[in-house]
């Protein structure tokens, strides 16, 4: 550090020794705290520029009538009108209910499948590592890749999924469309989301299962407790905090879900799978109602922030175990 900050004239011939030592003292004079700030400052500046500033700007816009398709109109302060419009709009209310239905169904399925997989993977068997890697693969893919991949799989004419269903049910493969029918489209999204994120729940549950000491099971064996009894009295209660963690995390993530649904159904057919994030995108980038969409974004942000507080609190409780 000292060598880098050494001024050029210090190495020049003819520059006096006291000047050299003064410069060295100045560099050495930086306290640890100052040096720490020096290193952290660029990150803080970047965070302020790309996170905090847009947030403050969005809060400001949510109190205005800004519509980007009519940006020539003067910007007018409308107070809480945008919030009032959203919180009395039945369409937004219905989208939030659709989002809640999606969140509940997918989280329940993910927890059941993830916990089941964790119980299986927790046993030692031949090819254990190989199967663990295979199960974890979907989680490592990008939601955009998963969306495109499943769009192809679910194609009524060429997709293998319909042919597989046809093989078991006898229904012609091109007679139904998983993403195009009102009754099937919501379940398709739940299915794909579960396929992608159940491995994540499995990982959290596995951490919970591995944290249970063996001596508890040994004591249960001595007491002649059946495997079923051991599951209900030891495994499940001791994994509950981890399950809660998985539920909260997946619920928050699914509440914000956009990319995969946008690729699979774009909110259709009609508005059957239109989650609130899709409504937000439509208000902001199709209707260009910037003020209104900023207010909706703030409502979602506060909701997620509130839920995240509960999540962090639960996480700390699990850590203290």
């Amino acid at each position: 550090m000292t060598t880098i900050l050494q001024p050029d004239h210090a190495t020049m011939p003819g520059v006096s020794t006291p000047a050299k030592s003064r410069d060295a003292r100045r560099v050495r004079g930086l306290s640890d705290r100052a040096i720490a700030w020096l290193f952290v400052a660029p990150t803080i500046a970047l965070l302020l520029a790309i996170n905090i500033f847009p947030l403050i700007w969005m809060i400001r816009l949510s109190f205005t009538n800004l519509n980007l398709s009519m940006s020539y109109l003067p910007l007018r302060f409308v107070g809480l009108d945008n919030f009032r419009d959203i919180l009395t709009d039945e369409d937004v209310w219905v989208r939030l209910q659709t989002t809640a239905q999606f969140v509940i169904s997918s989280v329940v399925l993910q927890v059941v499948v993830g916990f089941g997989l964790a119980l299986l993977i927790n046993r030692q068997f031949r090819g254990h590592s190989f199967w663990t890697t295979i199960i974890l693969l979907p989680m490592m893919l990008s939601p955009a890749v998963v969306g495109n991949f499943w769009t192809l799989l679910l194609q009524p004419q060429i997709g293998p999924f319909n042919h597989l269903i046809s093989l078991f049910t006898g229904v012609p493969p091109s007679s139904f469309s998983m993403t195009g029918q009102v009754a099937l489209a919501p379940w398709t999204i739940v299915l794909v989301d579960t396929w992608m994120w159940a491995p994540y729940v499995m990982l959290i549950c596995l951490a919970g299962l591995r944290s249970i000491p063996d001596y508890i099971y040994e004591a249960a064996e001595v007491d002649r407790a059946s495997a079923w009894r051991q599951f209900w009295s030891i495994t499940l209660p001791m994994t509950v905090p981890f399950l809660m963690l998985a539920v909260l995390f997946r619920a928050i993530e699914n509440f914000k879900m956009f990319d995969m649904v946008n690729l699979l159904t774009s909110g259709g057919p009609g508005s059957t799978t239109e989650l609130v994030s899709i409504s937000l995108k439509r208000a902001a980038f199709e209707k260009w109602r910037t003020g209104y969409s900023s207010a909706l974004a703030i409502i979602l942000f506060v909701t997620v922030f509130g839920a995240a507080n509960i999540y962090v609190k639960t996480l700390n409780k699990v850590k203290q175990r």
Binding site: T88, W93, L96, Q97, V302, T303, G306, N309, K313
Partner: protein
């Protein structure tokens, strides 16, 4: 002297983090349920205020002593 000790003890008794955090979390949870429930639009209309109150409350009470 003893008065200030009593007052400090009283404040410490009231401003404990645990129960206040639980109350704030209940408010947040209740607000989220109000936001997505399908029965009453009035509950939906007041959901955001409830979540906001819970969240701001949580941020404040998380600075209370244990």
């Amino acid at each position: 002297m003893s008065g200030s000790v009593v007052a400090k003890g009283g404040a410490a008794r009231w401003f404990r983090r645990g129960p206040w955090e639980a109350a704030a979390m209940t408010l947040i949870g209740g607000g989220i349920i109000m936001l997505v429930q399908p029965w009453s639009i009035d509950l939906y209309s007041y959901s955001f205020v409830t979540i906001l109150a819970g969240t701001v409350g949580f941020v404040i009470v998380s600075h209370f002593p244990e």
